[in-house]
């Protein structure tokens, strides 16, 4: 078994989560706190990758990022080719984990007592400070849960990745894709080893999430 593929997968998943996290948090906060036209539509759109088969999402991404697609044709002008590169791996992972991050973080924001935010504001705190010092710390269980869930989902991503990034060993092959190749070429032992590694990774991420999300010490709020 090659550790390259494990390292590559973890880096890609971390990158996917890191890139989408600010957007996911902002959207989750907007959905939890504000009323705006088109909210329901945006909510539904965000959930699309959850309800579509991943292969279908991958196919849609393939069309969007292909050389003739909306995004692909624009990026091509800047010399950026997404399809069949590590960028496609990140895109596939990001799109699949985004809804999980948004939904979980939103629940976290909604669980925050609004009175505490109001209190902070009445003492003159600016909205940014309220978010950073009151809302986010109080919602951290939901936010961290979203991050861990998104990361785990990204680690295991298969259907969308194989469509849009291909399965090119040493370039785009992730753990899931390597397991697929191993099973199809009859190398069950290699597949089982990678399964064990991905299981450990996922469990490790979940355990870390649990630890970080423990209630803060001190007086309960």
């Amino acid at each position: 078994m090659s550790w390259n593929v494990v390292f590559f997968t973890v880096v890609m998943a971390a990158l996917a989560v890191a890139i989408t996290l600010p957007v996911a948090l902002y959207l989750a906060w907007l959905l939890a706190r504000k009323r705006w036209p088109g909210k329901t539509l945006v909510e539904a759109l965000v959930a699309v990758p959850l309800v579509l088969p991943p292969v279908a999402t991958g196919f849609a991404l393939l069309l969007l990022f292909g050389p003739n697609g909306w995004f692909g044709s624009v990026l091509e002008r800047f010399g950026i080719e997404v399809i069949f590169s590590w960028k496609a791996v990140v895109v596939a992972m990001a799109v699949m984990s985004f809804p999980l991050m948004v939904r979980t973080a939103r629940v976290g924001f909604e669980s925050v007592d609004l009175n505490l935010e109001d209190a902070a504001r009445s003492f003159g705190a600016k909205p940014w400070k309220v978010f950073w010092q009151i809302t986010l710390p109080l919602a951290r269980r939901g936010v961290l849960g979203g991050v861990i869930l998104g990361f785990a989902r990204a680690l295991g991503e298969f259907g969308a990745t194989i469509m849009v990034a291909g399965n090119i060993p040493g370039r785009t092959t992730t753990i899931s894709l390597a397991i697929y190749s191993d099973v199809f070429s009859g190398d069950n032992a290699a597949a089982l080893k990678l399964m064990a590694v991905s299981l450990l990774l996922a469990l490790g991420a979940l355990a870390l999430g649990e630890r970080l999300a423990r209630p803060l010490p001190g007086p309960t709020v």
């Binding site: 590559f8 292909g66 697609g69 469509m163 291909g166 399965n167 090119i168 060993p169 040493g170």
Partner: protein, 277 residues
């Protein structure tokens, strides 16, 4: 552990720009993984071109090519998929050739006591389940039901057929003893130690299973792609494919593009010898 920092390099290469010109992406059926992995270093040595296999189901690979993915060479596990791309004008004219063949074989668990030497033996009472790929979605299953239909055996065994989602599942079910017999490709049977082949589909009614190769029209490296195509068809590559159980077309299409006409000519698609395990 050998190339510890390869992913970092890959990342950097990605930032710097798109694929280098001396790399050729070969989209191939997943069952070709081992053969292509073994051939890649050989190809680099002989042609100076880096062969990058992209392994998935033929249908997925075709969808990628249709959407303009940067594929240079396509090796399909059947003629139909390649025909589709050819009709859409996505293949480089004259570059399509027969690369490999495979054979449909019937396998039993290694410790099976059943006496099965030919298709007629599937009728016996001891055979209660015959695992096949789902004829609607799995080419191997389609080939199997076609073969049994032509032999007029299908009506007698119809009730025994268990359609499964792919050839690997058939193989696993036979290995586990859940079905008494299964129909798979010769190359698949070779890699599963818990099954043995009892007979291969041969004769005029046997399916012709082709793996055609073609250069994709949109390739950005036509010269390199041509070199790799030539290498894969050459005597340097053929023994490797043969070792993984693939059959080779009768006429080596060494160098010269030899456009083939669908199923018009049947290659000898029986395995060279029933492997003894």
């Amino acid at each position: 552990m050998k190339f510890k920092f390869l992913p970092v390099l890959v990342l950097l290469a990605g930032w710097v720009g798109p694929a280098r010109a001396d790399a050729v992406i070969v989209s191939a059926a997943a069952s070709l993984k081992d053969a292509l992995t073994e051939l890649a270093p050989l190809c680099l040595k002989q042609t100076g071109v880096n062969l990058l296999p992209n392994l998935a189901a033929s249908g997925v690979l075709a969808a990628q090519i249709k959407s303009g993915a940067p594929v240079d060479i396509f090796i399909s596990a059947d003629d139909e998929t390649m025909n589709g791309l050819e009709k859409s004008g996505l293949l480089l004219a004259g570059s399509r050739a027969k690369l490999l063949g495979n054979a449909l074989v019937f396998v039993v668990p290694v410790d099976s006591k059943l006496k099965i030497a030919g298709p007629d033996d599937l009728r016996q009472d001891g055979v209660k389940h015959v695992g096949i790929g789902d004829p609607k979605t799995v080419p191997a299953g389609h080939y199997t039901s076609d073969y049994l239909t032509k032999l007029k055996i299908l009506p007698d065994v119809q009730g025994k057929l268990v359609p499964l989602d792919n050839v690997r599942t058939v193989l696993s079910q036979v290995a586990a003893g859940n079905v008494e017999v299964g129909a798979v490709y010769h190359t698949d049977a070779l890699v599963e130690k818990k099954v043995r082949e009892v007979f291969a589909a041969i004769g005029p009614d046997a399916p012709v299973i082709n793996y055609p190769i073609a250069v994709i029209k949109g390739t950005k490296a036509p010269a390199a792609a041509a070199k790799v195509r030539e290498f894969l068809l050459s005597d340097g590559a053929r023994p490797v494919f043969a070792r993984y159980g693939f059959t080779l077309p009768d006429k080596p299409a060494a160098g010269k593009p030899a456009p083939e006409a669908g199923n018009a000519t049947a290659p000898s698609n029986a395995p060279a010898a029933a492997p003894a395990k």
